[in-house]
Assembly symmetry: C2
Homo-oligomer: 333 residues x 2
């Protein structure tokens, strides 16, 4: 293991898994740390609740399509959704650098409040810390959430033939951050996809029964999320390159910069694994929801059991989509 923390330890890929397994899992001794989900599920009364946390360190804190506050609320809402839960309560912990403009704090808090009003989620407890100038980069926010797990959601083991849905174009958040962070001189009609996805739980209702697993492709993008699912399930994944929704702006900007959009973050998309034969039905339900009109079935699980992700390419070939090693774009969330 490395002797010091590197940026890649925060990228959500192999190095992050190292820290989690060798340090946090070891000392905290919680078996479900092996679990794929970003949320822990506990029982209270006769019901199940999900509990999840995320700290946000995005740079810059204001970007096309949002700011760190929107990201913090949507990010934790979406992590609760991955556990099949209707998000209820959020906490918000602010670490603010001395000298941070009060006006910007107003803007960030207002955005957070707006997403709450829109979704019915409540920020019910908070904390404010200020550190001396130079000890933090403007503003960091932690949000931790509690959600009520739908009685219809029962995650199940995936099997060959199960279908893979993504609810919209990939890499829009990562590409937006790229454009805003570096002075690239590229003009583009593109904004971050950052948005709350709790409508998926409401929209699917009883049909959640056909959903086997959900995961949001944030850090490390679609490629990393699919690899995590394949590794955990020990079943191979095949995705069809032509079916992956991607805006032409994302494609051309990534081309110019030599970035692979498969590894760039989305912040308002969900990967939904659906039982074999139910893909089309779930697809139609999701398509009607806000933020989800570009929903597509992008692939399925195959009868291979190596836990690998394959892509059927445009020209008909097949290549492995490897797990991310090292760093691609730090501080996107």
């Amino acid at each position: 293991m490395d002797e010091v923390i590197k940026l890649s330890h925060g990228e959500g890929g192999a190095d992050t898994q190292d820290v989690i397994k060798n340090i946090f899992y070891r000392y905290f001794n919680e078996p479900h740390y092996n679990d794929l989900s970003d949320a822990y599920v506990f029982e209270a009364g006769q019901k199940k609740y999900s509990f999840t946390t995320d700290s946000f360190v995005v740079k810059p804190i204001f970007f096309r399509g949002g700011n760190i506050g929107k990201l913090a609320v949507c990010g934790t809402i979406n992590d609760l959704v991955t556990a099949g839960a209707i998000p209820l309560y959020l906490s918000a912990g602010f670490i603010i650098e001395e000298g941070f403009p009060m006006e910007k704090l107003h803007l960030v808090a207002k955005t957070m409040g707006d997403v709450c009003k829109q979704t019915g989620v409540k920020i019910v407890t908070g904390d404010t810390k200020v550190v001396d100038k130079g000890s933090a980069d403007h503003l960091f926010i932690n949000t931790t959430g509690i959600g009520l797990v739908s009685e219809y959601y029962n995650p199940k083991k995936v099997e060959p033939g199960d279908e893979i849905i993504i609810t919209g174009g990939i890499a829009e958040h990562g590409t937006s951050i790229l454009l805003d962070r570096y002075d690239l001189g590229i003009e583009a009609d593109l904004i971050s996809d950052c948005s709350p996805l709790c409508n998926i739980i409401h929209g699917l209702g009883r049909n959640l029964r056909q959903v086997k697993l959900m995961k949001d492709p944030t850090r490390g993008g679609l490629a990393t999320a699919l690899n995590e699912i394949a590794t955990m399930m020990g079943v191979d994944v095949e995705v069809n390159e032509q079916m992956i929704p991607m805006k032409s702006e994302v494609k051309s900007i990534c081309n110019i910069l030599g970035m692979d959009p498969m590894y760039l973050a989305s912040e308002g998309r969900m990967i939904i694994i659906v039982a074999k034969g139910y893909g089309e039905q779930i697809l139609q339900l999701i398509k009607e929801l806000n933020h989800c009109n570009e929903t597509r079935i992008i692939g399925h699980f195959t009868s291979g059991y190596h836990g690998k992700v394959y892509m059927k390419t445009w020209i008909g070939g097949k290549r492995i989509i490897p797990i991310l090693e090292g760093q691609i774009l730090p501080r996107i969330c």
Copy 2:
């Protein structure tokens, strides 16, 4: 209101209240933000749960008697206890500066795991972010917790005659941080009081019925906590200087440095407001608990209704203990 964030906005005093009221309360629109408690209480099934968050930015991250990890776990455990809850689950969100020694991360995580084993509290979900060198000061940790509120705990309005208990010597954490942060050349046999206080809930059991309110005197110390209680309740407080437990080391170090220990943080003490006539009974129960052998009744509520805190001094006088304005010692937690 100020145009930029100052260190005093994170000190827990009047300036922090300004930010909470003028920004967070305004946009998040949650009426219980006016509440005194650090924890939000919600119902699930037939039971009540408390939910609270805290980010930790203590400097230095290793100090006599603990480190940022111990503080992060104990701090949130104790905030849950203030709501009369048995702490159950914690989340842990790490923001780590690039280059942070892996060995230190092991030490911090091990301490967190140790407090969990000792208390039965579980860290069930986490998050790891890494920021580039210079963008954070070593390590920040957010912990957010869920606790089960005791069926015997029913916070009530305080009345004249209600008694005020503190569970041990004040200002030991703040004074320890002072000694370790600045190279003061003072040798002292003193460590931070940082410790988990969930045993108070177990130890009091049915006797929690006589407890009207609990609050931990962290940022801003005993003076700030008592002022918050007095202001919120609109009842005057009288504390007896001679009864306030304080180690001689704390007294002499504060004397040398010209600091008022009434405003320095404790991280393992609880202020317990007990119904008139029950002080002695509760005192005896608390005294038997770990970390609580110096428990004392330090004062009571009087028949004044100005929400002020008075201290009966050693020589028999009476003076106002004012609310903290500006900053005294930043980044103690």
